[in-house]
């Protein structure tokens, strides 16, 4: 087929384009992802038994996770459509990670040297590195599906952004269970767990997001 013929075919009787109502779908997907993750943690692992007494640290951890998700969100949104500059959106993520590392450093330096290892490692295996990616999957699956209606052209980066954002949402749910309240533990291991989500998202996104 000649290209001119193809153009005729595409242009013939063109309809006004529909504006996708993506904001609502996006919000619903995130809310659903968070609800499923909370259900997973409540049914699968159980909310920590001292939730009443430990409400402050739980909220702090969920807040930190929400902040991580919020810092990745602009990048994720920007990647939905082709040809938009990413600008400071990646820089903001770098600044967030640096800030988290700084908080961990200050927290550790302010502690008794004998205690530091326990504060950093949480006294056992850092399970969040496994749990948070698991809890991220409902949100990530929903967002990957939603992306089909859009046109991401940088698939690896889009996948990483979706992974990291979903990791933040998963970490919010994980805070209900996470028994470790050490500041250094949370700032280091939550960020690492979210980085794992980003890496998985990059690999999966490069395949699944093709259009």
């Amino acid at each position: 087929m000649k290209t001119d013929r193809l153009i005729d075919m595409l242009a013939k009787g063109v309809e006004p384009a529909q504006k996708p109502a993506w904001k609502r779908r996006f919000a619903l997907t995130i809310a659903a992802g968070l609800c499923v993750a909370i259900a997973m943690i409540v049914i699968g692992a159980g909310v920590r038994t001292d939730i009443g007494a430990a409400l402050a640290p739980v909220l702090m951890k969920a807040g930190f996770a929400a902040a991580a998700a919020a810092i990745v969100l602009p990048l994720t949104l920007q990647l939905m459509r082709p040809g938009r500059p990413l600008g400071g959106r990646i820089l903001a993520i770098g600044a967030f990670v640096a800030l988290a590392a700084l908080i961990a450093f200050v927290a550790l330096m302010g502690a008794d040297p004998a205690e530091r290892m326990r504060l950093l490692m949480g006294g056992s295996f850092p399970w969040c590195i496994i749990f948070i990616p698991l809890l991220a999957t409902p949100t990530a699956a929903g967002l990957l599906w939603l992306m089909r209606a859009f046109a991401p052209t940088r698939l690896t980066m889009t996948g990483a952004a979706i992974g990291a954002f979903s990791g933040g949402v998963g970490a919010m749910a994980y805070a209900l269970y996470c028994p470790v309240d050490s500041v250094a533990f949370v700032t280091i291991w939550y960020v690492l767990a979210i980085a794992v989500c980003a890496a998985l998202g990059a690999i999966i996104g490069a395949r699944l997001l093709r259009w």
Binding site: T3, L6, A11, E15, R81, G83
Partner: protein, 180 residues
């Protein structure tokens, strides 16, 4: 030679349902894309024309992804670059085409189409019946939507949806076409 302003104006009118503007947009885009792909696939003008057609279908089916807050050429070349990378990945000819950024402003659009190798008609035949019929009747035989609806027994909106879905399927099939 179209520039950002003209291309953008055509696109926005096309988004509003203006057929002539949409045609002008696609024609101008095709010329820009031809230069873009030929510069990167030197010596393989048929491959370049395949990519022009594939990208035109992508521009059309994904036109609602254009964000008017940013330049239309950035949108167009982001999609072109994506289709090119996808093509090279499939063809494993990565070494032949440097993907460096370069000055788009210096490019002259190329209106001289080569014959594309891919057979759009053959691909059309692989679409589900309903989608193929809708596209063939409305887009190729130039019958109106209501005529098509009457002769196929589908509703008018069904015909429109079938065309839209068919073009999307076509784009996917184009992407899967194995080219050596």
């Amino acid at each position: 030679m179209a520039d950002e302003t003209a291309l953008r104006a055509w696109m926005l009118q096309g988004l509003g349902g203006d057929e002539a503007a949409h045609r002008a947009f696609l024609t101008e885009s095709a010329a820009l894309l031809r230069t873009f792909f030929r510069n990167r696939l030197r010596g393989r003008p048929e491959d370049a024309e395949d990519l022009v057609q594939e990208t035109l279908v992508a521009l059309h089916t994904k036109r609602d992804s254009y964000d008017p807050a940013y330049p239309i050429t950035a949108w167009l070349y982001a999609i072109a670059r994506y289709r090119l990378i996808d093509h090279l990945r499939r063809a494993k000819h990565r070494a032949h085409a440097p993907l460096d950024d370069y000055e788009i402003a210096n490019e002259r659009p190329d209106y001289e189409a080569a014959e594309a190798r891919l057979d759009m008609m053959a691909l059309l035949n692989r679409l589900p019946d309903k989608q193929r019929t809708a596209i063939t009747m409305v887009k190729l035989e130039e019958r109106s939507v209501s005529e098509t609806a009457a002769s196929t027994g589908l509703s008018e909106s069904d015909v429109k949806v079938s065309i839209h879905r068919g073009l999307k399927t076509l784009m996917r099939l184009l992407g899967q076409e194995d080219r050596s």
